[in-house]
Symmetry: D2
């Protein structure tokens, strides 16, 4: 009834770990056995699936696959910016350098493009370089969107003698990493590829809470608070705040809960209609007549069915959404003009601001854990996996399993939003 | 092999819930059945206890024990200040008033002392009153330490016709609440008592993360950063920061991880010695010769074995610790004076600053959940229980089970600290 | 050679001030005589105008024109939001209520529109109401743009028996106030009208530093820092940040100085050209080839000569500028597309976010001073004036003198920007 | 009637400035002539001194004394930490390196002690080194208290071929700098010594607002807000906050004004008594009976007459005050114990926290100006002077004139505090 999730590895572990986490008399062994599992899901009850998965628990292994002194590690950061990328780079370096004694950590520049011969030259990391980066937004290494042929990447790894590749990125990045693993297998190389999930939208499966998310909702909340002040201080003020969230409404939902000033939250998971008595425009109209101000938070991927089909994709291959924020603004403007109710509409799009700030305290601690657990897994020769986080337990998840679908708001999470906003069903 | 944890209740639930969380077509039922359980622990592996506990999951019930329109609720906040108390009061009120339609919510003033005839008169809460309080530190209701006879409290509840008592406080407060339940039972009354765990030390059992904790470590981190600047900018600078944590080192540990600038973290769970080659003074001496500055973070309950026995207790009955911070400062001063190594020692004790700030974004969301879950449980007639949080699942925990012992740093948590500080074993 | 600037008043002052600022033995008299002047300008030197102006110094007068117990005061806030409006309202109320003992302070709702019979009803202020408003952005009273006939306003004042009108707003608002004074004079009424200058653009003449400005540049700096991270973390990233500043570049200049990460600052005072070897596009191109990223900060009123003439005006009658930010973005995009140099452009427009936040500490103190000095002037029967601030001395300035022209960046201020950005002359 | 204040210089200026601040067609010349003066004071009125001083205005000179390419500059930071020291170091370096083209800037380590042969070796500054330091508290160079013989310092300057010495520090530091000038004169050397006033207490004469002050009161305000919450949330809570201010109460006054929650502000300038009907204890007692909570802010140098005479001095020679904060706490505790009124006293001493944070936005801009003006003055061969700031005009002030006495709170400043706190005369 319980299925053990198998994590591929490069071979048996025979190198004793140099970590001294057993040397404190106060700590019993903190090494994690491969036979220790996290049972998923944690809930039991009527109507619930009896089947459970057992995931390997993340953590330092007593025996390693790679001999630290002879190991070369590369790290690459891909996709859109997200608070905490620098913290991850820093903790990866510190764990490898100071604790495992790995002599060489190579930073790939500007995403996967840094593997290609035309890309920027990679940089060897050192302590000086990473010392303060956790206090800055962005990524020391630079980033870019878009895939690069696994062939090119593995050529690079082979030529440079890299043993471990750590990929920091979202599901596109991790699917790319899986392609790299396949090419590595084809060439029968012994290179470990371990992913560190990075998604400001918080939509990677088996990752309960991804780093940067709380920083993002904290900043989004600040902007929503301003939007509320704007709407509240004029007669019939309407503020529309567009936030990130292509396929999942986690930021819209979390920021709405944090702010407690939002009247309508629109997310990709929950369709809504504009027109008709149950539609958004009618509900907004009622709200204005009643309270004379309103705040709308809309995730960038919400209400896509209302827009004419878009064909364009960004460099990562993500379908480019038509801009729901400006679409809503124009529809609302048109509605109230037609109804001759003077309103004052403010449109705020703080995405670039939100995602480029340094990580908050809680995210800093989270980044540190993700990074160190990825290093532990890689040194033990695990591969084709990423670090998951289920209910505050860090686990190993096969990349194909994690990237099969995206995480979406649960019923309970959406119900909390509906409770906080008091919004009616808009469909 | 799995033991179901039984939660006492006042009788069967026959009143349909007025919550409209099923009215959104987009949401399947979000009501929680009593037959839904959280399985504890979530880890399985060799050498681990096979026995598991099944805890009732928190959440709104479809049938209530109390008829909302006839229900009177009292809420009391006790013990030391903690970021988020006002958020809890506000969400309790909003959930009761707007969602359940409970007409009367009574705020008890200044902790349990507000139940006694000599205490400050209680206040009926209203929307105006709680509107902005989540943006302020402290508690609208005031607080105090120390028990009040259950007899006096139940007299008050009976006289005022209170049906539900919500107690916001730490384990002392909750033990007091259990006493109240016993007196209620003795008098065969139908009053529900539900606890909301409040502990800035984060030491309540079955509460993975208590509200206010992340706010506290964020502020503690800021102070530690200043302490590091102080130590770093002079020759042989030593900064000592004392933080809260009477029996558990969670704040010291979390703030050290967040800051990444701490060289020695001292917690109640891990004894250390001052003298001898393995002692703190020798390790500090070596650090100064090597790097010329050092930061020490010490939890208030650390190293108590080094101090002469104290007899005093505070008004809550907590044993008053001798001040380990000043003790350390004096010992360090003495050591380097004797060794004729000029040092500059800064001592910082930011406790009152840290605990009185408004809740951060992540804690705001957490407070909201604790508060609403407590209301759900109470309206369903549950009693003698508090809201627990295990691995991000909110559960019902019997008060006696939760207050039997205090939560302490796990091996893994302590190992993370030791990795971040690089400190040797000091015993 | 020194011209005394005459401030109109309603008549001689015969009522002794109730302020007890002389009661502290430690303070010599802090009352200000009308014969105390501030000499402007403060600089002397070759080629400088020998003529100086002597301005009345602001401050409490020992004798008042109005008897406090019989005085009714109205306060109105107009125009766009600005950090600190609530602080001003609060300090005006506290000074009038607690220190002068004025019994009635009327808050006009939503700008001048609140004087008209169709506007929202005014509200009597009380201590409860203003208690915490300084911690919130926006204005308790609401605001709006646009003039209302002086006739309607003076009708209102007469009907309500108002003795003092305090107008919080920019030069449009203060010109409106001057019209009110003329109507008051026509009707031979004894109503004092005193302005409190509010301009987030910091462009009111004889106001060295207006409240909200430092808060605005602090927030603008945060957004610019994010813009810098966005540009820096990709190859050939260009970030464009549009900030407020219709006729003066103070916010663009101040935020650029504070951030130290800006490469091109564009302000209304300094024309620039796009094309040609000296133009912005060529300079930006050179910067990209050299450093691969660039940050541009542009005031909304910059480069208007480049745009086709706009005809529209906002409700206050301000000429609506075509959007220079999006214009620049499109021109830059076109340039690099034509040159086949791939760039990544981010456009940020944080105006609504910046202006709606609570006042920072330094602005809080400034608001408090402006508010109290306005009350002092009005109680002494001064009228048709606003509170000026020259080189940290608060003064009385006749409204017509203050609204004749707008303040603009000085040479020295612009030179500091040019030094910080290193930008060439772009014309 | 107007006395021109003469600034010593090393000789006539014959080297043309390399600054290109005239190259922007939009800017008329921004060079400052020595014949441009700031007139002090700026107020005129009955009973005011007719005598005025004319101070040289700070700013870039068209002709320099030193040839930039051959100039060596040393910079030293002394005394207690203060927000903004790193900003000053950075702007000094950037101005010298990028704008003047000075090839060598030497950072002296740990205050004046870095000049002595036993001190830490100095460091040559470079762009990499100073790049991000403005985002960190403290000083890159380190600091220390205490004088070093001018002989030793001038030996160092001579041996290293230093042409300009910039001294960042308070009046003790600047008196030391004057001693260095005297020794330089004695040896007939051509070395310029220019001071940059650094005083978190804001007490240097002719410096209206010193850098770090606003950052300090912002942080002090945060702590006072917590102290207020602590006092307010219990019955008869009293919070005492001790802030910096040995001889002047600027921080206590500014933080009290910013917070608006303080009931008693105690400063060195204004004596108070503890006992008797007019004393602090009686006033506090009345406050508690009336409102049941109170906040006291006390500057470290207040009420020294109440303490037994102290003899100790710190390493800078500053008289060490007995601790007025703990003294007050004990006296208040004793008073209410004797009166059998139960109170809860919280004592907060946030000094080390406050002074070690990074500079706020407004202070960042201020630091930049102080630093660049000091460089301008030094390059023009001015010496034995510091940069003053009067009413937002930067001026040259002879060191002996600036260090003759300390700046103290003016009547108007103290009256504002008394208005905000509502406290009675306590003497």
């Amino acid at each position: 009834m319980s299925e053990k999730i198998v994590i591929p590895d490069l071979g048996s572990c025979t190198v004793p770990s140099p970590l001294r986490i057993d040397s404190h008399r106060s700590i019993e062994s903190n090494f994690v056995h491969d036979a220790m599992y996290y049972r998923h899901p944690v809930e039991v009850g009527p109507g619930m699936d009896e089947a459970t998965h057992l995931f390997e628990m993340a953590g330092a292994r007593k025996e390693l696959y790679f001999e630290p002194a002879k190991t070369k590690v590369a790290i690459v950061t891909c996709g859109g910016l997200c608070p905490g990328m620098n913290n991850v780079i820093r903790s990866v370096y510190l764990q490898l350098h100071y604790h495992y004694g790995v002599p060489a950590v190579l930073g790939i520049r500007c995403g996967y493009s840094g593997f290609s011969p035309e890309g920027s030259a990679p940089m060897w990391l050192n302590s000086e370089m990473v010392n303060d980066i956790h206090q800055r937004g962005g990524t020391l290494l630079g980033t870019s969107r878009g895939p690069v042929s696994p062939d090119i990447i593995v050529d690079f790894l082979e030529r440079r003698g890299i043993n471990v590749l750590l990929t920091v990125g979202g599901d596109g990045t991790q699917r790319g990493a899986h392609g790299v693993v396949e090419e590595i297998d084809r060439r029968k190389l012994k290179i470990s590829v371990v992913g560190i999930p990075k998604t400001i939208d918080d939509d990677v499966h088996f990752v309960n809470r991804s780093f940067g998310y709380f920083t993002a909702i904290e900043k989004a909340k600040e902007v929503i608070d301003s939007a509320h002040v704007e709407a509240h201080c004029v007669h019939n003020g309407i503020s529309i705040v567009k936030v990130m969230g292509r396929d999942s409404g986690f930021i819209a939902a979390g920021a709405s809960l944090a702010s407690q000033e939002v009247n309508f939250t629109l997310v990709p998971e929950v369709p809504f209609q504009l027109d008709g008595d149950r539609g958004l425009l009618a509900a907004l109209h009622r709200r204005l007549l009643d309270r004379h101000h309103a705040v709308i938070v809309v995730a960038e991927g919400a209400g896509q069915h209302l827009l004419p089909p878009a064909e364009e994709r960004d460099a990562s291959g993500n379908l480019l959404h038509r801009d729901i924020g400006r679409f809503l603004r124009d529809k609302i403007k048109g509605h109230f003009a037609a109804q001759r109710l003077p309103v004052l509409i403010r449109y705020l799009d703080p995405s670039y601001y939100i995602r480029s700030v340094p990580a908050s305290t809680v995210d800093s601690v989270l980044c540190d854990s993700f990074a160190r657990h990825a290093v532990h897994a890689a040194m033990a020769g695990k591969t084709d996996m990423l670090i998951g986080l289920q209910h505050s337990v860090f686990i190993h998840v096969p990349i194909p399993m994690a990237t099969k679908q995206r995480k979406r708001l649960s019923n309970a999470e959406w119900a909390a939003v509906v409770t906080a906003t008091g919004q009616p069903d808009l469909f």
